[in-house]
Symmetry: C2
Subunit: 314 residues, 2 copies
């Protein structure tokens, strides 16, 4: 009996704190609960907390309370302001956190911001891991995301089971910040390839090619990209909803990449040529649509008008 | 006995003419011979003809002779001048061709050139199909190419077995010229994505990321493209040989795409931003290297010097 009880204790998983219970954070919590981690969560939005409680999560009333109840904490936050508030605001993480705690920071933010938080936490004996997520909200819901993890290796190793609890795959990338840098490079390519897909579609439409044929033939060959495959069907249909990534939210990522490559003094001819089209998309009212709406911006510039699309006229 | 002989006649495959026995045409002939088509071939280069004869091909002494011995002819030619010569030069196809012949034109040329040839052949009762090839020389050798076929549908149907004899897959794309247009759109994307891969590598190197890690992590995610996957390893190694596509040869494709999109009056912001880097690659002496050498052009512009690459310094 005693032995069995000990085994049970040995098997018990550590409590995980989840701060931010939105599309991403809420999905992480769901998978961690399914993997039998006790999860303590907080979000300022009441509806999110309620959904979290229904899944079996333990709702906390503040970030400080989460930090006092879990020694591994995941943060998934929408803005720099929310991040400052969650870590160092009134009743923030710093108020309740215990030495030895590890924070898995999963947001996409500038490295300067993350590095500043890391340093302030070190003084309290807390280690911050830089762990941006590659994948959409839909992918997070299906546990189909990749984590680009970086920072203290031992801290990372201690969190292995937690990563496996909410992600399809986790890459340990090296010293603090490499994870974010890889995310920026990946999104630089996403920014370019989304527009190049639109460019191909508009050239095709102007040339009188049926866009469904174009999508099928080109998606299978040397000109293909993940973005062409994923966003192409929205462009063929000329409908940019439901959004997988809203144009207005993606603007934050573009601003971060731009600041990053400027600081590196690195030439980025294609990224630079593409950015004005994303700005134009916002100006033309596509902010709440998927970033595939860049296709509408390019069609307008090509003087292709009206609801007719190549895929329908062919 | 008689019945069996008839069956044998019924099974006999029609002779196929192959004009141009270089990397592409030579590979087509090889596969067609393996598929038991009698192949009559011609090339001005003696070495190519010799190799073709060794494979079991019937060498002809001119394009006219090929045309007089085969009613389905494939042309695979390196330049507009070679094309004019092969079709309408002294002892060209037009000299020997019989009415009812079908020519599968597999080169990548301007549509104006192909359309002109098509019209001149119609008068002789000969149908030209526009059938550019998607795939490299290595892919042709492995019978791993796709054909973007367009033109008269009945003529296309009569050539089905021939296409199956030398290509992995054949798309019938519609009226004459759609095949070429699709090829131009595909290569527009190839032009952009090859440079975007280089852009990502150079940003990564400037940021101190190990390029092997970058290749592995990003090639698996939303930022990936076929070009990133295929050319990435050459960029990581900083070696752009052996060439899959030489920079100096690819310049022809760039010129054709440029003329094509100009005529359409179509905005192509990323293609336009990319072209100067291909020009610079030729100027900097990379003409005989793979187009992945655009990476060296961008590294130079980023003031990354010397033989050290991120993949080796990490």
């Amino acid at each position: 009996m005693q032995r069995s009880a000990q085994l049970k204790v040995g098997r018990r998983k550590p409590a995980v704190g989840q701060i931010g219970l939105g599309i991403m954070g809420g999905a992480f919590a769901k998978h961690l609960l399914a993997a039998r981690f006790p999860v303590v969560g907080y979000d300022p939005a009441v509806a999110q907390v309620r959904a979290f409680s229904r899944m079996g999560g333990h709702a906390a009333s503040s970030c400080a309370e989460v930090a006092s109840r879990a020694k591994i904490i995941i943060t998934s936050l929408p803005s720099p302001a929310a991040m400052e508030e969650a870590f160092f605001g009134k009743d923030g993480i710093a108020e309740g956190v215990r030495p030895g705690t590890i924070v898995i920071e999963a947001s996409t933010m500038t490295l300067e911001l993350k590095e500043g938080i890391r340093r302030r936490l070190v003084r309290r004996g807390v280690r911050l891991l830089d762990c941006p997520i590659s994948g959409t909200g839909a992918q997070a819901a299906a546990k189909d995301i990749a984590v680009y993890a970086s920072g203290d290796r031992r801290a990372f190793n201690r969190c292995r089971a937690v990563f496996d609890g909410f992600a399809r795959s986790t890459y340990y990338c090296g010293e603090f910040g490499i994870g974010s840098k890889l995310k920026f490079v990946a999104n630089l390519l996403v920014t370019i390839h989304n527009l190049s897909a639109a460019e191909a579609m508009v050239v095709g439409e102007k040339a009188g090619i049926d866009l469904k044929l174009l999508y099928r033939v080109i998606g299978d060959g040397a000109g293909s990209s993940r973005m062409f495959q994923v966003r192409g069907p929205m462009m063929v249909a000329g409908r940019y909803e439901p959004p997988q990534m809203k144009s207005e939210i993606y603007q934050k990522d573009i601003d971060i990449i731009r600041a990053f490559v400027r600081r590196l003094k690195c030439p980025t001819p294609l990224f630079d040529a593409g950015v004005p089209f994303y700005t134009a998309a916002l100006r033309q009212g596509w902010g709440r649509h998927d970033t595939a709406a860049i296709h509408a911006v390019l069609r307008k510039r090509a003087r292709l008008r009206g609801p007719k699309r190549g895929g329908q006229t062919g």
